[in-house]
Symmetry: C2
Subunit: 256 residues, 2 copies
Amino acid sequence: MAGTDKSRESITGGPTVILVEPQLGENIGFVARAMLNCGMTDLRLVRPRDGWPNARARAAASGADRVIDAVRLFASPEEAIAGLGRVFATTARPRYMIKPVQTPRRAAAELRAEAARGVACGLMFGRERAGLDNDELVLADTVIQVPLNPAFSSLSLPQAVLLVAYEWYQAGDETPPEELVLGRTLPASKAELLYFFERLEGLLDASGFFQVDDKRPGMVRNIRNIFQRKHLTEQELRTLHGILTALDPEKRRGGR
Amino acid sequence: MAGTDKSRESITGGPTVILVEPQLGENIGFVARAMLNCGMTDLRLVRPRDGWPNARARAAASGADRVIDAVRLFASPEEAIAGLGRVFATTARPRYMIKPVQTPRRAAAELRAEAARGVACGLMFGRERAGLDNDELVLADTVIQVPLNPAFSSLSLPQAVLLVAYEWYQAGDETPPEELVLGRTLPASKAELLYFFERLEGLLDASGFFQVDDKRPGMVRNIRNIFQRKHLTEQELRTLHGILTALDPEKRRGGR
């Protein structure tokens, strides 16, 4: 691809992931799985140690066959990135060159912005043990470093890919931070809740629960507060009414 | 611990991670590594399938011995969480109960807030294949669900732990989104940069590069812009001066 007029690739399926001399087939599979989890599909390998295709990679991908099937092999990092407009490298801190170093979250925002401008981007990762060497690192515009426990910051290759891919996915995702799973029932209305309070308090009055009249208002507030959590459902309220019925002394006295 | 007065634990090393019936020792090790990457140290296992201790777990932990050594075993999830004040469960969507479902990012903010209030929190994860059952899920206050590619959203157990732990770490981390690695040199001053421009333009004038006088100002602007990227360093500027000296026609004519 390098050196031709068609040096600019179109963007599909998120940023390209480039693994430089990955050693374990299993890790290539884990990377493919993490990529597809996050909606990325373009995986390129530079001189994988154990060759390609690799049965361990496919097994570890746990069904991310779409990524494994589309893997492309390259003889050098230069060839692997030739068609891209911007390259991020994930590595330890480079020591002998000046590079902007970004968190995965910041890089994710830039990846989204580049894509919106039509720039094809790549994420380059090095060998399991040795990472990228300086000649490879200089090919990247930007370095991504994951803020982690400084006393224990070494990530496995698939974990590093997962975190960067995860941030990329989150940067385009609109899931609300908190949702309520409603299942098959609806939140109870306030009228239903108040009816329950009145029934409960009536039963407690009849049973002598409120021994001191002065304390009744405070105790009623405490009890109401217990059930006042948000999103008590109609189903849960029916269950509570069932409990009242079961514990009703009138009913028990009647032997029913 | 359950049922005693000392039901409230103190908080050290971030939230507790509880794995319910994990199957593969290797996964327990990967979880320990991911936890320590993110500064978490308290790992509890409920009935691990292959028993404990487990050599595969220790090997896969890649040096996170501190977490492996401190692992505690429990006979049930109830016992494992007895001392905690709040429990988050990571699972697929619960179907038959009402639970707030949060993203890892939102949950991370709540975990930080709970810790600030002195509330010990736990993150509960289920079996590799089956996850948590409904009786276990009901023990949790909140469910965490990771927004992922809906067509391929199944995460491995260690990956799920990593993403939640990562968000927890990020929520307390203050790494600037972008830093510049300066290595052993400093950014060049503007005066140094202007001196370089003048020297370059003088050489270009002498060499007849600016063939049309009208176009000279625009071309000078273009050339200056090429080198005007942020953070050009003193070292890089010295290199550029060396290039000018090497290419200087006067020097070449002189045969030096």
